[in-house]
């Protein structure tokens, strides 16, 4: 089933009106949306305030991680609970290459290299580890694959806790943020006379990065390789019969997914605090990303972004804006409890009633909204409503 399509179809009126390139550009829906998007972005950037920018930045990093999981589990159908293993690998690669050198004996190692080295390296090393782990893991299917990826998380925790020179051991270590010479995101100085806050700099940095990753994933999935991934998901035996090299397809998905997870991991550790213990890369976090994937909608780029907003952004927002006032009486109901109940409860509700996730919900809404205009649109020849498919795109 295809995802939300955003074809750049021009909506030039048929007939004899001049259809210049420029006019086609201006009237096309995609461009209009883009312009609005940029306008909103600028507004948020200027007026959003540190609170909102923090929530949005965390959501964007989570979205990159969710996209990586989508590549593996959403498009290729390989269940994985082990995303935090690859995120950790990426993060510690970034820290080892880009982090500060040790100041006291026993401090972890760092080489203070620039972001142009440590960020891509984080992805590449994670991808290499994925290539190593892949052949063994990909022999398995369904539940078995899920449990092996779960095992990866615990093996990762064990390795991270013991590799003290790289990870700082159980006490944790500092992770590098983007910095260029004297200027760093963590303590920004005025650039061209303009002083921006840390969160604003990250917002400027992360938005194009997320857009790049999203576009990349979107395009890969429409390419030959992407169609091979989806064929593997939909019917493995059938795919083999029509000539898809199963091993190559699965490995490709695994490596791409690990690459993106590594980059997401490096950013996840760097922002907002720049400090993390090995316990950060635990099963609970991995399950949150799985939840983001499923709640947002599998096999959909927008779905991953929305899912990340729901699972990571929403609880932060609830907490930030003190929906429930803090107090210290012993049986108080706090925002932490509310987040957990909301999270668990809404997962159940989504899985029960809208398995295609938020995207599925939006599509249904769009179909429903279609009935309010031109009566011949959205209906078949006999006048019946053509509904979006309700079947989940993900089969195992």
């Amino acid at each position: 089933m295809s995802e939300v399509t955003r074809e750049a179809t021009s909506d030039a009126p048929s007939g004899d009106a001049p259809t210049s390139q420029w006019r086609r550009f201006l009237t096309s829906r995609l461009r209009a949306l883009l312009l609005i998007g940029v306008a909103v972005w600028v507004l948020v950037f200027l007026l959003g305030g540190d609170n909102w920018l923090l929530i949005l930045n965390v959501t964007m990093i989570a979205a990159i991680a969710t996209l990586s999981l989508n590549v593996l589990s959403g498009y290729t159908g390989l269940i994985s609970l082990g995303i935090t293993f690859f995120m950790g690998i990426g993060a510690y690669t970034a820290a080892w290459l880009g982090g500060p050198p040790p100041t006291f004996p026993g401090d972890p190692m760092g080489h203070s290299l620039s972001i142009f080295i440590w960020l891509p390296a984080a992805g590449i090393v994670a991808a290499l580890v994925g290539a190593l782990v892949g052949p063994t893991a990909l022999r398995l299917k369904g539940f078995y694959l899920a449990i092996v990826t779960l095992a990866l998380v615990f093996i990762g925790l064990y390795l991270f806790k013991n590799a003290r020179t790289i990870t700082g051991g159980p006490q944790g270590r500092i992770f590098p943020g983007p910095s260029f010479g004297d200027f760093s995101f963590a303590s920004p100085t005025p650039v061209f006379g303009v002083l921006l806050t840390t969160n604003q700099w990250y917002f400027v940095f992360l938005t194009p990065l997320l857009a790049l990753v999203a576009l990349f994933v979107y395009n890969v999935m429409r390419s030959r390789a992407g169609r091979a991934f989806q064929a593997v998901r939909d019917n493995e035996t059938g795919a083999a019969i029509i000539g898809v090299n199963l091993f190559q397809a699965k490995m490709g998905a695994f490596i791409l997914s690990s690459f993106l997870a590594g980059i997401a991991g490096a950013l996840w550790a760097a922002y907002p605090g720049g400090y993390a213990e090995p316990n950060t890369w635990d099963l609970i976090l991995a399950i949150q990303f799985v939840a983001a994937l499923l709640v947002g909608g599998v096999a959909s780029v927008w779905g991953s972004i929305l899912g990340a907003a729901f699972v990571f952004g929403l609880p932060l927002a609830l907490d930030t804006f003190s929906i429930i006032p803090q107090n210290t009486s012993a049986t108080a109901f706090t925002s932490g409890d509310l987040s957990a109940i909301l999270y668990g409860g809404l997962i159940i509700l989504f899985m029960l009633f809208e398995p295609a996730g938020i995207i599925g919900f939006i599509r249904r809404f769009q179909v429903w909204a279609r009935r309010f205009e031109n009566p011949t649109d959205g209906r078949g020849k006999g006048g019946e409503v053509v509904a979006a498919s309700e079947q989940s795109e993900f089969e195992s």
């Binding site: 969160n199 213990e277 316990n279």
Partner: protein, 421 residues
């Protein structure tokens, strides 16, 4: 046309987002005039000064530790405000729930940092570590409610109390110097995280300083449910004194399991390893009374000969009458006293800006907390930033309020005094 509703919906959604963003833009800071220099968290017209609190108010750490400490701080400042505040300025507390999660702590910090002059509390080691780089950049003082000694190296961290590492060293000072046991066989069981590491560091220093016969070191994970292996290992090693850098559930499991397999050494417990709830377990309470000593600090609850204790109990009656005896409450109350001392000095200097508060803190030297804890010493070098190196060894005694009875009185052992940070 089929596209319009989608376009409409998209425009609608995006516009709403934009409007939301505008509405929720951060609020500014009220800065009045006057001769008092201030930048954040001080409202000169309403005469209030705001302090931040970052602590778990929900989750497993909240009820035993997070909430009592916060209550201690609240009670102290309730009393201060009732008697007119600091130089006429009332103290307001801005509390955020971190759920003991470093990411939430950072987010909470970012939210309120511009609303407060300094932080009256930041609970937990991984959580506080997460905001250290941020506080260094923002030049904000934080009163750190954690006993991890690494934080002594940070210029904006205010520590209270003896770090875990030194607790271990003082424990063995008691065994060797006060009880007179020469070259005892010793061991340690520690949790496999930063907390455990700190205990282990202290243990290793104690081993070399006091000439202990180190026969066993074992570790456990916070989620472990069986401790037979660790107990059996220590039993086979024959250790007579075993230190536990653990959480209460693990400590209970270790002591109970060890007894079950016939191993009853003297157990020395790190201060967080004991909780009053352990006394409810059938059979465990006798073991604890007979074999376990808890490291701690602070005046015995209810000892009104100590002026600070009398004052605290008095304030509890007025502002928190249902408060049960709780060492963490006492810790929070003392922490608030140190915060008060910093603020008072800054007000006396006429400068409650961030820089002014730092200056006040660095020039503090000694803070008298009325005997609740021994006089706390501060300074600027890492070694001086550890305000106390003393401990008390307590026995567990259910007949005493707070269930802890001092065995040793307060003292600073040789190793603790000499330890370098």
């Amino acid at each position: 046309m089929a596209i319009r509703p989608r376009l409409r919906t998209s425009i609608g959604v995006l516009s709403c987002l934009a409007i939301l963003g505008v509405i929720l833009a951060g609020c500014g800071v009220n800065n009045g005039g006057g001769s008092l220099k201030n930048d954040f968290g001080v409202n000169t017209s309403a005469k209030t000064i705001s302090l931040g609190i970052l602590t778990p108010l929900s989750g497993p750490v909240a009820a035993p530790i997070g909430i009592p400490i916060t209550k201690g701080i609240e009670t102290y400042f309730d009393a201060v405000n009732a008697s007119g505040g600091i130089d006429g300025y009332k103290v307001k507390l801005v509390e955020k729930d971190t759920q003991y999660n470093p990411q939430l702590e950072v987010s909470a910090y970012q939210q309120i940092k511009n609303q407060v002059a300094m932080f009256a509390e930041s609970l937990g080691t991984p959580t506080t570590q997460a905001i250290v780089p941020l506080t260094n950049n923002d030049h904000v003082l934080v009163n750190a409610a954690t006993l991890d000694s690494y934080l002594a190296r940070e210029p904006y961290m205010v520590l209270i109390g003896t770090p875990y590492r030194l607790q271990v060293e003082n424990a063995f000072d008691y065994v060797v110097k006060k009880l007179g046991v020469q070259h005892p066989k010793t061991g340690i069981i520690y949790q496999d995280d930063g907390y455990g590491q700190d205990g282990l560091t202290g243990y290793k220093e104690a081993v070399s300083y006091y000439g202990l016969d180190n026969v066993g070191e074992a570790t456990y994970e916070a989620t472990d449910t069986t401790f037979t292996a660790q107990a059996a290992q220590l039993k086979a090693s024959g250790a007579q004194y075993v230190f536990l850098t653990a959480i209460p559930t693990a400590a209970a499991g270790i002591i109970g399991t060890a007894h079950a397999i016939g191993y009853d050494p003297h157990w020395l417990l790190q201060s967080p390893a004991y909780a009053n709830g352990l006394l409810q377990v059938k059979g465990l309470n006798q073991l604890l009374e007979a074999e376990a000593w808890v490291m701690g600090q602070g005046a015995t609850w209810g000892d009104t000969s100590v002026p600070g204790m009398a004052e605290m109990l008095n304030n509890i009656q007025k502002y928190a009458p249902s408060q049960q005896p709780d060492g963490y409450f006492e810790f929070g109350y003392t922490e608030a006293k140190v915060t008060y001392a910093i603020l008072k000095k800054a007000f006396d200097n006429g400068d409650v800006t961030r820089a002014g508060l730092l200056k006040a803190f660095n020039s503090l030297q000694n803070v008298d907390v009325g005997g609740l804890y021994p006089t706390l010493h501060y300074g600027t070098a890492p070694n001086q930033r550890v305000p106390s190196r003393d401990s008390t060894v307590y026995a567990i005694d259910p007949t005493v309020p707070g269930n802890l009875k001092s065995l040793s009185g307060d003292f600073t052992g040789g190793a603790a005094a000499a330890s370098q940070f």
